[in-house]
C-alpha cells in the first residue's frame, strides 16, 4: 500500500528526479543571488577599492597599501579607535551586568509584577536611536535633568572629557532593555527543577547563580557579548547625534568620534579607497574580537 493511500490523499504523479534535485537550490536561490549581488560581490570589490584612490567617478589610481598605512599612521584614526573601544568596554559591565541582574530579579519570586517591568525596561530599545539621541541632548544639556537633579555643573555636550561619558549613559540606557530580554529568555530555559534541587541541597542564592545559572547561561552570555562587540564597533548614531550638533558638518568632535566616522567622512570627501580600507580594518577587528570571545566562552566538552 502506498503512502497516499494510507493517508487518504489524492494520487499524484511523481516529480522527475532532476526536479527533485534542483528544487532545494530553487528555494535558496533568491537568498544566494541577493547575497552575492548585494554583499559578496560588493565586499570583494571593496577589497580592491581599498588599494586605490577613487572619488566615485573618473579614473581609478592604484596606490597599493598607502590607504592602510596612512590610516595606521593617523592620530585621528588612533583617537577614533580609542573612542570606539571606550564605547564598547565602559558600558559593557553596567549594561550586561545590570541586564543580567534585572533579568534575575524579574525571574525570581521577589518580583510580583514581571509583566509590567518587561515592557518598561524594553521601551528605550523600541525608541529610534535618532529620537533617543535628541531626547538625551536635552536631558544632558546645561540646564537639563541630569545636572538639575544631581546638582551638577557638567558640560556633557561640550567638554571633551565629559562628552564620552554622556554617550556611555545613553548607550547603557538604550542597551539595558535589549540584553535584559536576551538574558530573561536564557533564564527561562533553565529548568526550575534544577534550581529547586540545588536549593534543597542547601546552596545559597549566590552559589546557585555561580554554579548552576551562569554555566547554563554561557551560550547566552557569549551571544550577548558578540552582539554587543559588533554593535559597539559599528557604533555611529548615538555619539554623532548626542555631541555632534544639528548643524555640525563633521559629526562628533575628535575626542568623541567613533571609528565609523572615518568611513562616513571619507565617503563624503570622495575618498572611497580610504573608506573601504577603514571598513576592512573594522572587519578584521570584529573578526578577531569575535574569535577570541568564542574561544574564551566556548563550552567545555
Amino acid at each position: 500500500m502506498t503512502l497516499h493511500h494510507q493517508t487518504g490523499g489524492p494520487a499524484r504523479a511523481r516529480a522527475p528526479k532532476w526536479l527533485d534535485r534542483l528544487a532545494p537550490y530553487g528555494f535558496i536561490a533568491p537568498f544566494v543571488v541577493s547575497f552575492a549581488l548585494f554583499f559578496a560581490i560588493p565586499s570583494i570589490v571593496s577589497i580592491g577599492l581599498s588599494f586605490t584612490r577613487y572619488s566615485g567617478y573618473g579614473p581609478v589610481e592604484w596606490v597599493g597599501l598607502r590607504n592602510y598605512r596612512s590610516l595606521l599612521d593617523s592620530p585621528n584614526f588612533h583617537q577614533s579607535v580609542l573612542n570606539t573601544l571606550f564605547y564598547w568596554l565602559v558600558p559593557l559591565v553596567p549594561m550586561l551586568g545590570g541586564a543580567f541582574l534585572l533579568a534575575m530579579v524579574v525571574r525570581s519570586k521577589l518580583t510580583r509584577w514581571g509583566r509590567i517591568y518587561k515592557p518598561l525596561l524594553f521601551i528605550p530599545q523600541v525608541m529610534a536611536p535618532v529620537a533617543a539621541g535628541l531626547v538625551w541632548r536635552v536631558i544632558l544639556s546645561g540646564n537639563g535633568v541630569v545636572n538639575s537633579v544631581f546638582g551638577l555643573d557638567v558640560n556633557w555636550l561640550g567638554d571633551p572629557d565629559a562628552m564620552k561619558w554622556g554617550v556611555v549613559l545613553l548607550l547603557v540606557w538604550r542597551g539595558l532593555g535589549w540584553y535584559f530580554v536576551v538574558f530573561l529568555a536564557g533564564l527561562t530555559s533553565i529548568p526550575n527543577d534544577l534550581l529547586e534541587a540545588a536549593e534543597m541541597d542547601g546552596t545559597t542564592a549566590w552559589q546557585r547563580v555561580r554554579h548552576v545559572v551562569l554555566p547554563l547561561m554561557r551560550p547566552i552570555v557569549l551571544f550577548a557579548l558578540v552582539i554587543d562587540t559588533i554593535a559597539s564597533l559599528q557604533l555611529f548614531t548615538e555619539p554623532n547625534l548626542l555631541v555632534g550638533g544639528a548643524g555640525s558638518t563633521t559629526g562628533a568632535p575628535p575626542s568623541a568620534a567613533p571609528v565609523m566616522n572615518q568611513i562616513i567622512t571619507n565617503i563624503s570627501g570622495g575618498q572611497f579607497g580610504l573608506a573601504a580600507a577603514v571598513g576592512w580594518l573594522m572587519f578584521i577587528a570584529i573578526a578577531v574580537f569575535s574569535v577570541v570571545q568564542f574561544r574564551l566562552f566556548r563550552e567545555e566538552r
Binding site: R53, S55, G56, Y57, G58, P59, R66, N67, R69, S70, L71, D73, S74, P75, N76, Q79, R137, V138, S141, G142, N143, G144, N155, L157, G158, D159, P160, V243, G245, A246, G247, S248, T249, T250, P253, P254, S255, T265, N266, I267, S268, G269, G270, Q271, L274
Partner: protein
C-alpha cells in the same frame, strides 16, 4: 472542457503575437517621447536636483512659467531631493556621474564642492549662457559664479559675514557699534557690555566651534590650505590659517566670550533669547534661525558688518550656494535660461525673492522697498548685506575641501584644549594627515 492541443497552441500563439505587438507599440511611443524632448521646440522636462525641501525649487519654476511664458513654453520641471544634506546630494551626483545615467540638468551645490567637480571637468562652462545676465548682478554674485577664472555656476545665495548684536543691551552699555573696527575693539566692546551686564557675552565659542566660525575668518585673511602648483597641502605653514586659529583661541581667552556653549545646542538657543549671548559673528543665513529662537526680541537685534577679526577684512561663509549645469545635461540652454531669468534678471528674481524670502543678487533690486524690509530686522539687514558685499571674498577652496574641513576641525579642538599659544603643531599634524591620505588635492 479543455481545448484540443492544436487549438491551445493556436490560442497561445495569438497571445504571444498580441504581447509582442503591445511591447513594440509601447517602445515606439517611448522613443517618440524621448525624440520630442531632444528637439528644440518640443516638450522639455528639466530635472533639478536639490537637497532638503523641494518647495523653493518648485516655486522658482512656477515663477519662471508665470513671468516668462514664452521662454518656458512646453517646459516642465522635475525637482528631485537627494537627501537631507548637501553631502547626500553630492554622493548621489557622484553615483550619477559614475553610471552616466540620470544626470540632472541642474544641480544645487554649496560652493565648497564646486572645485572638485570643476577640476574633474564635469561642469558646463556657463559664461556664454549667462553672459546676457551678468551685468545685472552684484560683484559678489559674479565672484560666486567663478572657479579658477571660469564661469561654472549661477549664483543663488551669497553668504556674507554679518555681525548680529542686541541693540538694546549695547546701547545701555554705551557701545557705539560703528567704532568697533578691530579685534581689540571687539574685545573692548565685550568688556563694556560685561561691566553693565555681567552675564552677557559678545560671542560663543565652545571647545568644538562650528567649522564656519574659523572658516569665515580664513576666508577674509588670504588663508589657503593647498597650492595647485606644486600640488600640495600647505596648511601647516599657512599664516592666514594660523591667524584664524589664534584669533579663535584669543577670543575664547578674552573673558568676553561664552566658552561653554557651542552652536546648535539647546543652550545656544536659550542663550540667544535670554541675553547670555548678546552678539554673534555669523553669516547671512542666521536670521532664519534667530527669528525662531528669539521671536520676542524682534526689533531688539541689530545687524552690521564684521569688525576685523584674525586679520580678516571681509570674506564670506563658504562663499554661498549655487546652481551648476553638468556637462552631460541634455538641456543646457533651457536650464541656463531658467536660472538666468529667475536668479539674475530683475523681473523673475523679484518674483522669486518675494516667495523665497532670500536677498536677491540683482543690483536693481537691492534697494527695492518691497524686498528690503525684513520682518525682524527692518531695513538693517539689507543695508548690512550691501555693505558686506563690498568686501565679499571667496575662500580658496580646492577639491579636498571636505577632507580639509574634518582634519582642521580636529586640529582646532585639540589646539583649543591644549595649553599651546600657537597652533603650528596642530596645523602641521593636519597637513601631514592630509598629505598622507589625499596626496595631491587637485587630482580627482
Amino acid at each position: 472542457m479543455t481545448p484540443p492541443p492544436s487549438r491551445l497552441r493556436h490560442t497561445l500563439r495569438g497571445v504571444l503575437a498580441f504581447s509582442a505587438c503591445a511591447v513594440l507599440a509601447a517602445s515606439a511611443l517611448t522613443a517618440c517621447g524621448s525624440d520630442d524632448e531632444g528637439a528644440g521646440g518640443g516638450n522639455v522636462e528639466l530635472t533639478l536636483q536639490v537637497w532638503g525641501d523641494t518647495k523653493y525649487a518648485e516655486d522658482q519654476f512656477k515663477v519662471y512659467q508665470e513671468q516668462y511664458p514664452d521662454q518656458s513654453k512646453g517646459q516642465t520641471m522635475k525637482v528631485l531631493s537627494a537627501g537631507k544634506t548637501d553631502t547626500d546630494s553630492i554622493n548621489k551626483f557622484r553615483l550619477e556621474l559614475s553610471s552616466g545615467k540620470d544626470i540632472p540638468d541642474i544641480l544645487q551645490l554649496n560652493y565648497s564642492w564646486v572645485p572638485e567637480f570643476a577640476e574633474a571637468g564635469v561642469l558646463s562652462d556657463v559664461k556664454t549662457l549667462a553672459d546676457p545676465f551678468l551685468p545685472n548682478v552684484s560683484q559678489a554674485a559674479q565672484r560666486l559664479m567663478q572657479y579658477d577664472g571660469k564661469y561654472v555656476a549661477f549664483p543663488y545665495e551669497v553668504k556674507s559675514k554679518l555681525w548680529y548684536y542686541r541693540k538694546d543691551l549695547f546701547q545701555q552699555a554705551g557701545i557705539d557699534i560703528t567704532q568697533v573696527k578691530t579685534q581689540a575693539d571687539f574685545v573692548a566692546a565685550g568688556q563694556k557690555l560685561k561691566a553693565k551686564f555681567p552675564k552677557s557675552n559678545v560671542w560663543n565659542l565652545g571647545t568644538n566651534p562650528a567649522t564656519y566660525d574659523w572658516q569665515m575668518i580664513a576666508a577674509g585673511n588670504g588663508a589657503k590650505y593647498a597650492t595647485k602648483s606644486p600640488c600640495a597641502f600647505v596648511v601647516g605653514t599657512d599664516p592666514g590659517t594660523a591667524q584664524a586659529f589664534k584669533a579663535i583661541k584669543d577670543l575664547r581667552n578674552s573673558g568676553v566670550v561664552e566658552t561653554k556653549i557651542d552652536d546648535w545646542t539647546p543652550e545656544w538657543q536659550t542663550a540667544l533669547a535670554d541675553g547670555t549671548i548678546a552678539s554673534t559673528l555669523n553669516a547671512s543665513w542666521f536670521p532664519a534661525f534667530l527669528t525662531q529662537y528669539a521671536p520676542d526680541l524682534k526689533g531688539k537685534w541689530g545687524v552690521t558688518t564684521w569688525p576685523e577679526i584674525g586679520g580678516a577684512v571681509g570674506g564670506s561663509e563658504s562663499a554661498g550656494s549655487v546652481f551648476v549645469i553638468p556637462a552631460k545635461s541634455k538641456h543646457k540652454k533651457e536650464a541656463a535660461e531658467f536660472l538666468g531669468r529667475t536668479l539674475m534678471d530683475a523681473k523673475g528674481t523679484k518674483a522669486f525673492a518675494k516667495i523665497g524670502g532670500y536677498v536677491p543678487n540683482v543690483i536693481a533690486l537691492q534697494d527695492d522697498p518691497e524686498l528690503t524690509n525684513h520682518p525682524y530686522f527692518g531695513t538693517e539687514l539689507s543695508t548690512a548685506f550691501k555693505a558686506a558685499d563690498k568686501d565679499y571674498k571667496v575662500f580658496a577652496f580646492d577639491p579636498a575641501a571636505n577632507k580639509e574641513q574634518v582634519a582642521l576641525s580636529n586640529a582646532m579642538t585639540k589646539y583649543l584644549t591644549s595649553n599651546d599659544a600657537e597652533p603650528t603643531t596642530y596645523l602641521k599634524a593636519a597637513q601631514d594627515e592630509l598629505t598622507a591620505q589625499v596626496g595631491c588635492p587637485f587630482k580627482s
